[in-house]
Structures are given as structure tokens and as C-alpha cells.
């Protein structure tokens, strides 16, 4: 492992490699997304207007209500979804949604992960390692 690898306290899902979309902002499927178009739709969100499809979302904290627990499953069924979630702080809804959708997430780091991962970097997310991690492959 190198200085470009960051360990999380918890993880779930499959190993994933994709481009990171990074912001110091929260995440809620209901509050923040236009799930039909696959873009961040809340005007105040730092990623407003950007597509999340196929990206590893590196964000601050899980926000909002309980709907994400169903919505990740619905997004996956239509194939309009991120590649993985990487959060400074997960909440139970995000964990429940990831478990139900068989999706990939790691969370809870010793540093602010949104400051550690460059936006647009190619990253690898490994949730099933003994210590789940995200690694920057190329900036």
C-alpha cells in the first residue's frame, strides 16, 4: 500500500474501479438527485448538474431521510447509478440501502476523505479487505 491508499472503518459490497466525483457535501438520493436523468439536481449541492452515473462518489456525510434505502435498489435496477459510495460518515439508511441493493460503500476514515481524493482521479474501492480502502490509481 502507498500514501495514496486510505483506510475506512467499514465496508460492504464488491471491489470497484472508476473515476471519482468528489465534493465536501452530503448525499441523499431523494434530496439531491434527479434519478431519471442521473444527475445531482439540488441547486445548492456542490455537484449540481453533474452526472453521477458510473462514478465513485466521494462525499462527506449521508443526509436526509429514509428513502435512499429503497432508491439505491431502484437506481441499480435501471442501471442509472454510481459505481460506489465513499463517505466520511454513513448513517443507517445508507448502510441499509447498500445492503438491500447489493451495492458498494466504504465509510469512516481517520481524515477528511473528500480532501484526500482528487476530483476526477481513477480510484479503486475495496470494501471486502480486512481493512476496507480506497486507493488512487491515477490522477
Amino acid at each position: 500500500m502507498t500514501a495514496n491508499t486510505f483506510f475506512a472503518k467499514a465496508g460492504m459490497g464488491q471491489k470497484t474501479t472508476a473515476t471519482a466525483l468528489v465534493a465536501k457535501d452530503g448525499f441523499s438520493a431523494r434530496y439531491d438527485l434527479d434519478r431519471l436523468r442521473g444527475v445531482f439536481s439540488r441547486a445548492e449541492h456542490k455537484l449540481a448538474g453533474q452526472s453521477y452515473v458510473g462514478r465513485v462518489l466521494v462525499l462527506d456525510a449521508a443526509k436526509g431521510g429514509v428513502a435512499t434505502a429503497w432508491m439505491l435498489h431502484e437506481m441499480k435496477a435501471r442501471g442509472v447509478m454510481p459505481a460506489a459510495l465513499v463517505l466520511n460518515a454513513a448513517n443507517p439508511i445508507m448502510v441499509q440501502g447498500v445492503a438491500f441493493a447489493d451495492f458498494t460503500m466504504i465509510s469512516d476514515f481517520d481524515l477528511d476523505i473528500t480532501q484526500a481524493i482528487p476530483n476526477g482521479a481513477m480510484v479503486e474501492v475495496e470494501p471486502s479487505a480486512e481493512r476496507p480502502f480506497i486507493r488512487v490509481l491515477a490522477e
Binding site: 434530496y31 431519471l36 441547486a43 429514509v66 429503497w70 435498489h73 448513517n91 439508511i93 448502510v95 441499509q96
Partner: protein, 415 residues
């Protein structure tokens, strides 16, 4: 996680595939969040509007519903959050037939499991509030925060699949707010202005939610100079949960776990402190009205209105006429009472629409906006202002009085 013999039997499939899926799901969640074991729960409350479920979610439910009764029945009393429509008024909202069909399919599936379709997010005001210390598995953030904080019950946010799992197994992973040590306050909020109107209570909740920042923070609020009403603390909690993803707060001298500061702060615990006064509340309100002088509709929803709120709306509309859509959303039993007491007819005579068993933002809000040409919305719900922007609306947070005034003045605000 430690499993009892009964839980191991569930995991082995001895109670059928639905229970087996449910406990496997709960183990995944519990292990991620550090649960050591399960705790028995007495009730479950499921959020499952079809905009969230989608076709894939409804089909999944239908597969569970197709199992034999002894394999699919819920094991504890289980109720539901609002649906995605009020069938009696769907045409007035210009909802599409496919939406109603998906709702019917979801309802049929839930009923096949033995679930009571209460369709409410104010079950703590209308169905059966939990008791102090009672472990429950509730969906809807507003329900959880009210029952945790005001009733002293114990629940995490249980999204639809997890609440359904709890209904099928009769238990939930013991993490988070099922644990006494997790219920200690993590920050102190000194309030120097006690709100009066419901939108002010919501604004205070929104401000504290932003300060708290995430699910694991428990704010203790000091300085509230009177006992709030159930509706006031409902709006406060709903906004706090929405803006902060917060599931528990303490209000010093008011909520049951916070009779003394030492009750909620551990010995030698750090107490990050913030002060919130009238200036912050006014600034919060202003942030939602600065760029709006006229709205396309007025919505009272999120949470559903109590009977007393309906009475207030009816009184404000007496002798007036709404000239833009004015939607008033409540639960089925409150709607029945409002019909019986003449409140619904007073609101509808004045041009309003009383909707039952749904919630505005859970009812295909984006599609309703496109079908009706709605873009700018006035509400007295801070929670709704936080959510509805993601659906393409521009929300204005106003008092109930100002909302009704706007509805009766072609949507113009402040005239």
C-alpha cells in the same frame, strides 16, 4: 453478531425464505454498524412510497407477498408511512394512471403480509405512540426523532427494507439509539429565542440540524422557555432530522431523558456549544424567500397536519378564496375527523384541497410539477423546503398565515 437459537433457525431458512432474507439483511446492516446482537421490537413502521420503490421494488415486494401465509406474515404490529397518492384526488393533482397502478400493486403486496395501511407520518399523534424505553423499528425520520426524543422510545432510522425485515423477524440489530450510551448529548445548543409559529420551530430545527451535521450527533437544546405543543415539536424535530439526519435530541427540562443537564452529558464530556437566537431564525427564513415574490401553489404537508393544524388552516380561510392551488395533507383518521367536524368542507369551500394518506414530496413531486406547471412553492414546513428543491421546485418558507394570504392573493407573497 451473537445469534440466539431462534435467530439461527431464521438464518437457516427454517421459517421460510422471507424471514431468511430479512435476518441476513439485518446481520449485514448490524455488522457494518457494530451491533453485538439483536433487540426485540414491538412495532414497525414502513416508508415505502412507490416513487422510492420503483417498479423493481414493487416487483420485489410482490415476490415476498406470493409466499405462503405462514412464511410471509409479519410478526409484530406493522404500519405504513404515507403513500404516493390520495386515490380520491389523484386526478386533481394530474397524477398518471401508471403511478396509481404501481401504488395499488404495492398496497396489495403489503396487505398480503398482514401490514396495516395507516399511511401516516404522524402515527405518534394518531395511532399508538410508543412508551418510554420501548424498542421499535420506525421509518420516516420525523417519526423516529419524535418518538426517540419526546416519547423516550428507542429506534434508529429504519428504511423500508430494514423496517420490513424487523416486521418479519420481530427484532432489529442493537446499535445506535437502542443503546443507552449512544443517547448522550454530543453538543449543546443555547437558544435565546423561543419560536412562536410552526415555521419558526422548523427553522430552529433546520439551523440545529446544519450545526449537528450527521446522524451520530445528539443535540441538547437549552433555553426553551415554555413547553412546546406537540405540533411545534413535530415541526422542530422533522426539520432537525431532515437538515441534519439527526434521530434524537434532548430539550433541557422538557423531554423525558433531559430533566437535568447531567442526565444527557456524560461526566467530563466535551460540550461543543452554539447559540441560536432570533437573528439566526430570521436569516434562515429569509434565505428561502429572498428571491421569490410570487408562488404557484401553497402546500401544507411534511409532516401531515394534525387535527388542530387543520382547524387553524380552516379558520384562516374562512371568508376568503384561494386563487392558486392550496394543498392540505393529512392522515386518513385525521381526514375522517376533519370531514366529520366540517373542517374539510370549510377548507374546500374556500378553494383548498384536503388530501389524505399521502405526503407531497413522496407523491411524484417532479412529475406533478411538470404536469401542473408548478415551480415556486410556499409552505410553513422547513422540512419540505429542504427536500423539495431536489425535485426542481423553488420553495418559500412562510408562516401558516402568510401561506394562506399568498394563496388568496394569486400567489403574491407579503401583500
Amino acid at each position: 453478531m451473537r445469534l440466539t437459537d431462534q435467530e439461527q433457525a431464521m438464518r437457516a431458512g427454517e421459517l421460510g425464505p422471507a424471514v431468511q432474507w430479512a435476518i441476513e439483511h439485518q446481520i449485514k446492516v448490524g455488522e457494518y454498524l457494530g451491533a453485538a446482537d439483536f433487540v426485540a421490537v414491538s412495532q414497525a413502521h414502513i416508508m415505502a412510497d412507490t416513487e422510492s420503490l420503483g417498479t423493481a421494488g414493487v416487483e420485489w415486494l410482490e415476490r415476498v407477498a406470493s409466499l405462503p401465509w405462514e412464511q410471509r406474515q409479519v410478526r409484530i404490529p406493522t404500519i405504513t408511512d404515507p403513500r404516493g397518492t390520495d386515490f380520491a384526488a389523484a386526478h386533481r393533482l394530474k397524477q398518471q394512471p401508471w403511478m396509481l397502478e404501481l401504488e395499488r400493486r404495492a398496497i396489495n403486496a403489503f396487505e398480503a403480509l398482514g401490514i396495516l395501511m395507516t399511511n401516516t407520518c404522524i402515527n405518534y399523534q394518531t395511532i399508538m405512540p410508543p412508551l418510554f424505553g420501548e424498542h421499535v423499528a420506525y421509518g420516516d425520520t420525523g417519526v423516529v426523532i419524535y418518538c426517540n426524543s419526546v416519547c423516550g422510545a428507542r429506534s434508529n432510522f429504519e428504511g423500508g427494507p430494514s423496517a420490513l425485515s424487523a416486521a418479519l423477524t420481530g427484532r432489529t440489530p442493537r446499535y445506535g439509539y437502542h443503546l443507552a450510551e449512544r443517547r448522550r448529548a454530543s453538543l449543546l445548543i443555547e437558544v435565546t429565542f423561543t419560536p412562536r409559529a410552526l415555521d419558526e420551530w422548523g427553522a430552529l430545527g433546520g439551523i440545529i440540524g446544519r450545526l449537528a451535521g450527521d446522524y451520530w450527533q445528539v443535540p441538547a437544546i437549552a433555553g426553551v422557555d415554555r413547553i412546546p405543543s406537540s405540533d411545534e415539536i413535530k415541526h422542530f424535530g422533522a426539520a432537525l432530522a431532515s437538515y441534519g439526519s439527526v434521530a434524537l435530541f434532548h430539550m433541557m427540562g422538557i423531554t423525558p431523558e433531559a430533566q437535568r443537564e447531567s442526565d444527557v452529558f456524560g461526566p467530563n464530556a466535551a460540550r461543543p456549544a452554539h447559540s441560536v437566537g432570533e437573528a439566526e431564525i430570521r436569516a434562515f427564513q429569509k434565505s428561502y424567500t429572498d428571491e421569490i415574490d410570487c408562488v404557484d401553489l401553497v402546500v401544507f404537508s411534511a409532516p401531515q397536519l394534525s387535527l388542530l393544524e387543520l382547524q387553524q388552516v380552516a379558520a384562516l380561510l374562512d371568508g376568503r378564496r384561494a386563487t392558486i392551488p392550496l394543498l392540505v395533507v393529512t392522515s386518513p383518521p385525521v381526514k375522517a375527523d376533519a370531514d366529520r367536524l366540517g373542517l374539510s368542507s370549510r377548507i374546500e369551500t374556500a378553494g383548498g384541497t384536503v388530501l389524505s394518506g399521502m405526503c407531497f414530496y413522496q407523491s411524484y413531486a417532479r412529475e406533478m410539477a411538470e404536469a401542473n406547471g408548478w415551480h415556486r412553492l410556499a409552505t410553513n414546513s422547513a422540512k419540505l423546503t429542504n427536500i423539495i428543491g431536489g425535485y426542481g421546485y423553488k420553495p418559500a418558507l412562510l408562516s401558516m398565515e402568510a401561506c394562506v394570504a399568498a394563496a388568496c392573493n394569486d400567489g403574491r407573497i407579503g401583500q
